[in-house]
Symmetry: C2
């Protein structure tokens, strides 16, 4: 079976055959979840670890007035709650946006992996750190970017993230979310989200129609969003802390 998890984690570690076998053993038959279903709610103490295999889910917080802020999109290969056992209660909820295929992994399996497979452990670490880096970038985006650039930036991010798990074709991909959900992720109103999407469409930069996203001019989108993919850490890091930097590169 095709495995977005292995595909994603391979960025962080060179897996051995034994690693791959261990990871494949984790991937049992996924179960389907309907769209817009809660997987985990605020205050829960989940027993198993949830892994998205197909579809799109999100982390979200509900504000006292009922408004929702989506704080992360969970794509195939993403864990929903790898480490929450340490924290205790969930401080946010997780819900599907589209129909999803999910796998529940017993915590004991995770413990086994982290005790016996150092390369996998390192890759899991890497994944959680990338999640954190994405959170920081979202803060910067919501705090500083205008709404139109915020949208453009998010689509650059989603494009690259989907591409690493093989869910893109050319510069098109399926994104089964509504404009309301997009707005909730970006901290803007649905009306404004719609207008800014129309704008990007009119300027022949990208089109989001229904569930299908087509980036018409990726360079223009990147330039407009002032997008730099560094924070996604998709480049294989060099092993010993002195990679691409030239010695003379003191400034910066």
């Amino acid at each position: 079976m095709f495995n977005p998890l292995i595909r994603k984690l391979s960025i962080a570690s060179d897996f051995t055959e034994s690693d791959n076998r261990a990871l494949n053993d984790v991937i049992v038959e996924p179960h389907s979840v309907a769209p817009k279903q809660d997987i985990i709610r605020t205050g829960d103490r989940p027993e198993n670890v949830h892994l998205v295999m197909d579809g799109i889910a999100c982390r979200y917080k509900i504000m006292p007035n009922g408004d929702r802020q989506i704080v992360a999109f969970l794509l195939p290969g993403d864990f929903c709650d790898l480490h929450v056992a340490i924290l205790g209660e969930m401080d946010h909820g997780i819900a599907t946006l589209s129909p999803c295929k999910m796998i529940e992994i017993p915590r004991t399996t995770i413990n086994d992996l982290t005790e016996n497979y150092p390369r996998i452990t390192r890759a899991l670490w890497w994944a959680t750190l990338v999640d954190e880096a994405i959170l920081r970038e979202w803060i910067a985006g919501i705090g500083q970017r205008m709404a139109d650039k915020r949208i453009a930036h998010l689509f650059c991010e989603l494009y690259l993230r989907l591409k690493t798990v093989g869910q893109t074709e050319d510069h098109s991909f399926t994104l089964p979310i509504t404009q309301q959900e997009l707005a909730d992720a970006l901290g803007i109103s649905i009306v404004h989200a719609n207008r800014m999407l129309m704008d990007l469409r009119t300027r022949n930069i990208m089109v989001m129609r229904g569930k299908h996203v087509k980036i018409l001019n990726y360079d223009a989108l990147k330039a407009f969003a002032e997008f730099s993919p560094d924070y996604l850490h998709l480049e294989r890091r060099s092993e010993n802390g002195n990679g691409q930097r030239s010695v003379s590169d003191k400034g910066r």
Copy 2:
């Protein structure tokens, strides 16, 4: 020597004498850093782990137009870069805001701790997960809250975080940051930050004058900010997934 690190981590684990000794050994004589100095810059690959012992630092991102977004405040007991070695390059910078006392811990020491002290390892895990939870709450705040409530919410958070490391007196604390830095953290302009602070002052809720913050009416501040401290995970979690929740508490 008083140790904000131990004080903070004790929330997550019951340390043994041996744990405490190991942690105390880490705390060598800190060195002083002047305010507004970069500790780590974007693109760096830090060798040692940096720990704040006194003063306030921040994580920040610089946008292409020069605007700055502060994505985290680093208080005494907070690590700056516990795990970046796994990621490779820093995707953000870290700088002092006030004069700080910092400790640099060799990565080998961290490795030793995580290999030989399971309770410390768990506590370090807990600390990084709390950092992540704070990032999520900031996204929700910047995305959904009005500027005045955003300020109030941040002060509730800082109050509690400083309290856990013994840096508060009654409802007062020292916060050596400027209004510009506050604005950069909240994603608002300095002018607006100033006006909203005046507002909170006028309403006898809290006062920030220079480096001193005094919460005049904590209940009013909490209510106004709609602040719930859950995301800070300051309560000792119960050991086996079924703590305070009553069995009949199905909803929610």
